[in-house]
Symmetry: C2
Subunit: 132 residues, 2 copies
């Protein structure tokens, strides 16, 4: 069993769609939450939602959609002050989320480095393989 | 102006959410289409939709959510037989889509390599930067 929670934060419905797409691949998993900043939401509304979730104190892997984006900045600020065991990876793609969900390793440097590597390796120029 | 179209293909609503999230960052852009394979859709229904879009013959950058996933496999097959100028990058994240949308370079090896590099560099372990 995965010994940490996963929290995905994004612009709009991207986090929710990532979680739903992952469920199509590896099934619905417990301990996975999605938060989105809608177009006319204030950053404060996202802060309030994420704060309640991170406040539970469980080790949490936070995935954000874009380094430097508002959702990323909001959760980074919260993680810094949470005092808990929070790790953040920006630039999430579906492969990263699936690998995180099916992981049963502790949330440490080894796991985070492996997930970052897998996510990067999952970005592939496929054209060469088409035989063009 | 970007001299190619962009087509995003995914599980569920992920492609649509990626396009909407990108619009929150760089505005709504012409020539960007999203196609999703819903849970109970057949691959053939996605094939039919994407075929019509690729059939226009415009140079097209295809972004897919996961290498080896059904949506990826469907569009790869179509791209191989399209005869047109189609490039495919798997493992899309939001940074990749935004960079593609705002690009005004021709759809060639140089651009595809640059986009892959940017997408990979956008996957970042941010924990170290939190001063933990």
């Amino acid at each position: 069993l995965r010994p940490f929670d996963i929290l995905v934060a994004s612009h709009g419905s991207l986090a929710t769609s990532l979680v739903e797409a992952a469920a199509m691949i590896c099934g619905t998993a417990p301990g996975v939450a999605a938060f989105g900043l809608a177009r006319h939401d204030s950053p404060e509304s996202l802060t309030a939602q994420v704060e309640a979730s991170l406040g539970a104190g469980r080790p949490t892997l936070v995935l954000t959609d874009l380094y430097g984006g508002t959702p990323h900045n909001v959760v980074s600020r919260l993680a810094r002050s949470s005092g808990g065991m929070v790790r953040i990876i920006a630039g999430a793609n579906l492969g990263l989320l699936v690998e995180a969900i099916i992981s049963d390793d502790p949330l440490d440097d080894v796991l985070v480095n492996r997930l970052v590597t897998l996510a990067r390796e999952g970005v592939v120029d496929v054209t060469a393989r088409l035989g063009e």
